[in-house]
């Protein structure tokens, strides 16, 4: 099995034509296959910790298999914190995780100013990612947009001292949090520069800034100032930035859009319709098929239905809309569901015909009801 509805254009051709208001075959679409690329290529997730060639080959294999519109060098949220002294668990065949933050003891925290800014060419797994980026640019860079994942400064700061600790510190020891965000910013800029030098545009994941975790007030005090500097730095280097924040984000949508980002990717708990009405005139919106219940556990028909419902809510957003998953997909997401998302977008075509969209939704509903 594989895709049923074949694409007529490469992602690059599609993006260029869309930007110039020319005919395109379909909306761009990004199911957000993360470490699941290992399942397409046939390797272990931990191979990505060691081999740039394997990381690039797996990304390329998955792009070729599904034909989605963005390829991203991303394995987990922790490589920058790791390069700054955090320790990780690196399981054989699943996603890396934080074991211990860089600052563990009270004494460590007192000496927080000693944490170094990273050298992306030397520290931790970062050189592997940079090497993999070169392979992507050389081998598929002319047909699909390749990006380098970054986390935001606040999220990285959380991993330097531990999530619960830093959340308390936001209210009790703000100066430490500001320092950790500042060195995180400098480190992330160093990495972003290295990626941009290779030719990739960065994307930013900032999960800890979610309103599910911190208040908009804490976001504005500790996260936004540094996040904004990171975005502006990348823009000055001539690249647009797509940002993703997990969980609830509605109270900070305007703050994010006003940074001038190229696109904002929302979680499935957020509403595309509300997001469109709030910031659709400022930035492109991407989202938000449920990665767990629908993509991982659902059927292809359920994927089709939810993808269409997302498109119905978002397709007329003034600055554009990209059907996407609400977060990175679980590793074992069935290929048939990833195909279903892209096939749905291809079957619908472009420009989106509202009548066709409605009739496809009705058909998908009936198919789902029979399951």
């Amino acid at each position: 099995m594989g895709r049923i509805f074949k694409d007529q254009m490469t992602p690059m051709e599609r993006a260029a034509a869309l930007a110039n208001c020319k005919d395109v075959d379909r909306l761009p679409c990004n199911p957000n296959v993360a470490n699941g690329v290992s399942r397409v290529y046939g390797c272990k997730v931990s191979d990505f910790n060691r081999s740039a060639r394997t990381l690039a080959d797996a990304q390329i294999a998955s792009y070729r298999r599904f034909g989605y519109d963005s390829v991203r060098i991303f394995t987990d949220l922790f490589p920058w914190a790791e390069a700054m002294g955090a320790t990780l668990t690196l399981p054989e065949d699943s996603t890396a995780d934080l074991l211990e933050p860089a600052l563990k003891t009270k004494e460590d925290i007192l000496n927080y100013q000693k944490i170094p800014v990273i050298n992306p060419y030397k520290d931790g797994r970062l050189p592997i990612y940079l090497e993999a980026m070169k392979y992507l640019v050389d081998e598929i860079g002319s047909e699909v947009g390749c990006t380098a994942a970054l986390v935001g400064p606040f999220t990285n700061a959380c991993f330097l001292v531990g999530v619960e600790k830093i959340l308390r510190m936001c209210l009790r020891e703000p100066e430490v949090v500001h320092h950790l965000c500042q060195i995180s910013l400098e480190s992330l800029i160093a990495y972003a520069d290295a990626a941009i030098d290779i030719g990739l545009g960065p994307t930013i994941s900032e999960p800890m800034s979610s309103c599910t975790v911190i208040s908009p007030a804490i976001f504005k005090t500790f996260s936004e100032p540094y996040l904004k500097q990171l975005v502006h730095h990348i823009q000055k280097r001539g690249k647009g930035v797509v940002m993703h924040i997990c969980g609830k984000t509605a109270p900070i949508w305007n703050d994010i859009a006003d940074m001038g980002i190229a696109g904002f990717s929302i979680d499935n708990v957020a509403s595309i319709l509300d997001c469109k009405h709030t910031i659709g005139h400022k930035t492109k919106i991407l989202g938000n098929v449920d990665p767990a219940t629908t993509m991982y556990m659902g059927t292809p028909n359920a994927v089709k239905l939810e993808t269409l419902q997302c498109i119905k809510d978002g397709y007329d957003s003034p600055k554009g809309f990209v059907p996407m998953s609400g977060c990175s997909l679980p590793i074992e997401t069935p290929f048939a569901n990833i195909d279903a998302m892209l096939d749905t977008v291809a079957e619908l075509g472009y420009p989106v015909d509202p009548q066709k969209l409605d009739s496809m939704i009705e058909d998908a509903k009936q198919l789902c009801a029979k399951e």
């Binding site: 470490n35 668990t89 999530v163 209210l171 990665p291 767990a292 219940t293």
Partner: protein, 220 residues
């Protein structure tokens, strides 16, 4: 002078306002009067934590505030503990086993759930994070748990929740225990699909739901 009621009310307020020092002072004054220390936890500190949970639900408080409220509550509980008499009556306290499923070390949601379970009166056994599926069953058997709470923040480890439930069924323990699942990627639909009894979008609601489910199970 503060009456007992005043002190209880002030303790609740001090927890809600994250004032650890005030909590300790109030507890000291309360104990000096010889009032019932157990009441101070249930009718003072826990009330404050409950209100903090309400503020979290309504979007006024966020996780940092909840953590500091719980710090204040536990400071008070630690102070009061030596003054709480050994249980004279054999009032049944419900027991819960909670943990983050294997493959995931994000425990913030689980920790909040644990705090809120204690607030509504459960005795909680915390298995920590990255817990192998069998450990949930072993501990539940050992403490005759009324509730198992499974948490994950990662889509990659959700399947371990259904494995725990399958093993409970295989060992004929499923009927004896309420299973609740929670965490970032978990939805009510996912909970239903894997055969969990309950799910709630946040720790406060989840703890209240847990209590109701356990009471319901025991009323049969």
């Amino acid at each position: 002078m503060n009456t007992k009621e005043d002190l209880l009310q002030k303790m609740a307020t001090a927890v809600l306002e994250m004032e650890e020092d005030d909590v300790l002072e109030l507890c000291a004054e309360y104990v000096a009067h010889g009032y019932d220390a157990l009441e101070a936890t249930t009718d003072g500190l826990a009330i404050g934590m409950n209100k903090a949970g309400d503020l979290y639900e309504s979007g006024e408080y966020y996780i940092p505030e909840l953590l500091l409220c719980s710090d204040a509550m536990y400071q008070g509980i630690d102070y009061l503990r030596p003054h709480i008499p050994q249980k004279s009556n054999d009032e049944k306290k419900y027991t819960a086993v909670v943990g983050v499923v294997e493959g995931d070390t994000h425990d913030i949601g689980k920790n909040l759930f644990k705090i809120m379970l204690e607030t509504v009166g459960f005795e909680v056994y915390d298995l920590g994070r990255d817990v192998p599926t069998d450990h949930f069953l072993e501990k539940a058997k050992e403490v005759r748990a009324d509730l198992i709470g499974l948490s994950t923040l990662m889509t990659t480890t959700m399947q371990n929740m259904s494995i725990v439930i399958e093993k409970l069924v295989a060992q004929q323990m499923r009927e004896d225990v309420v299973v609740m699942v929670g965490g970032g990627p978990i939805s009510a639909e996912f909970a239903r699909k894997i055969g969990a009894d309950g799910y709630a979008p946040d720790a406060g609601t989840a703890a209240n739901a847990a209590k109701e489910l356990v009471l319901e199970k025991h009323s049969h």
